[in-house]
């Protein structure tokens, strides 16, 4: 299986290169680097990635509270990038869910109640995936039941699920084996975890 870490946010080029080496060792084939690191750095990372056998993608993260702000941010997006929308308010969540330019919708625990059948229909309409940032779990392990609820939502309504590390340093990366056992410990099949680590990138970028 070809694993993808859809979002890493390295602080420097050296850190990014080390993270890429580790990801390669762990069995990942694709890595998404946050555009905040700079386009020049991403270009050099892409070259290094090619020599390592690792595909490097540009990932733009939108973190907004206001719908108008979100619309503006989406309209300014460049093509060829994976877009992760972190929804912090109900209106932004709905907008990100139905807009096909946003590929992944990252929820926050405050909006859990909004994740129902209608929300799943919106996400299917916009063709967006439900993205869960595993670095949130490292920061606050008490979010484990919330993760469980989100995964259960995705499985119940057939919404595509993607898990990514969101790592800013090498020790925040996640080994696929750990992700598999994490999901097994929640009562899901370990395969669900592995599938969530291998989203169809080409379909997203199309």
């Amino acid at each position: 299986m070809c694993y993808t870490d859809l979002l890493v946010k390295p602080r420097s080029l050296d850190e990014a290169v080390y993270m890429m080496k580790l990801l390669k060792k762990m069995g990942y084939r694709t890595v998404g680097v946050d555009v905040g690191i700079g386009s020049e750095t991403i270009r050099s990372l892409r070259e290094k990635g090619e020599s390592m056998g690792l595909r490097v993608l540009e990932v733009a993260t939108l973190d907004t509270r206001d719908e108008r702000e979100a619309k503006k941010a989406v309209s300014e997006l460049r093509g060829g990038r994976i877009v992760i929308g972190k929804a912090r308010s109900p209106s932004v969540l709905r907008f990100f869910s139905r807009d096909s330019r946003v590929h992944v919708v990252e929820p926050v625990p405050r909006l859990t109640k909004l994740f129902d059948r209608n929300q799943s229909a919106l996400m299917k309409q916009g063709g967006s995936m439900l993205g869960l940032n595993l670095s949130m779990l490292l920061r606050d392990p008490s979010l484990l039941p919330w993760f469980d609820r989100m995964i259960s939502f995705a499985l119940r309504y057939g919404v595509d699920l993607v898990l990514y590390s969101g790592a800013s340093s090498w020790n925040m990366l996640w080994h696929p084996r750990i992700v598999r056992h994490l999901l097994s410990s929640m009562g899901y099949s370990g395969r669900v975890g592995l599938m969530a680590l291998s989203p169809e990138i080409n379909a997203l970028l199309r």
């Binding site: 762990m26 392990p141 990366l173 080994h175 084996r177 750990i178 410990s185």
Partner: protein, 168 residues
């Protein structure tokens, strides 16, 4: 046949009918009584069956409880572990699991670091087979030991320590 004889015959028929009805009533009463006693007996049998079922379900539960917990040996590797002691890693792993799943789980899982090579950063953790998944998941939350950045990678799980040592 005269009217008198016909009346006699009718009286006799009526008397026979009354007798028959009376006998049937008696029979019904007897049947009712026997049914009642049968129902009582059935109730006793059902109660006995239920107690037998309860007894066996309790016995099954006791058996399951008494079933010997199988051990699992998880082989792992710690990245950037040079200089870290086995006790520090074990302590940190237990702390992480305590935070995640609580103190009772840590006690139930009987986690113990049975082997650790500080040079290669490889080790073996022993736990119960029922707790394997949660212990491995917990390893993912172990990101620093004594303030140093580390990362734990589970390599393989084995049922015996002999087999686990082969994977190191």
């Amino acid at each position: 046949m005269g009217i008198e004889e016909a009346v006699y015959a009718l009286v006799i028929i009526i008397a026979l009918l009354v007798l028959r009805v009376f006998m049937l009533g008696e029979r019904l009463r007897e049947l009712q009584a026997s049914m009642r006693s049968m129902a009582e007996e059935l109730e006793v049998v059902l109660k006995t069956l239920k107690s037998v079922e309860d007894y066996y379900s309790v016995q099954l539960k006791i058996k399951e409880h008494k079933k010997k917990a199988r051990k699992r040996y998880i082989v792992f590797r710690v990245l950037h572990a040079r200089g870290l002691s086995a006790s520090a890693i074990e302590e940190e792993l237990k702390n992480v699991l305590k935070k995640l799943y609580g103190e009772p789980f840590v006690r139930e899982a009987m986690i113990s670091l049975v082997y650790y090579d500080p040079v290669r950063g490889k080790g073996i953790v022993r736990t119960k087979h029922t707790c394997k998944d949660r212990v491995i998941a917990g390893m993912g939350f172990l990101r620093s030991v004594n303030g140093r950045k580390v990362m734990v990678i589970p390599i393989r799980t084995a049922g015996t320590i002999k087999k686990a040592r082969e994977y190191i």
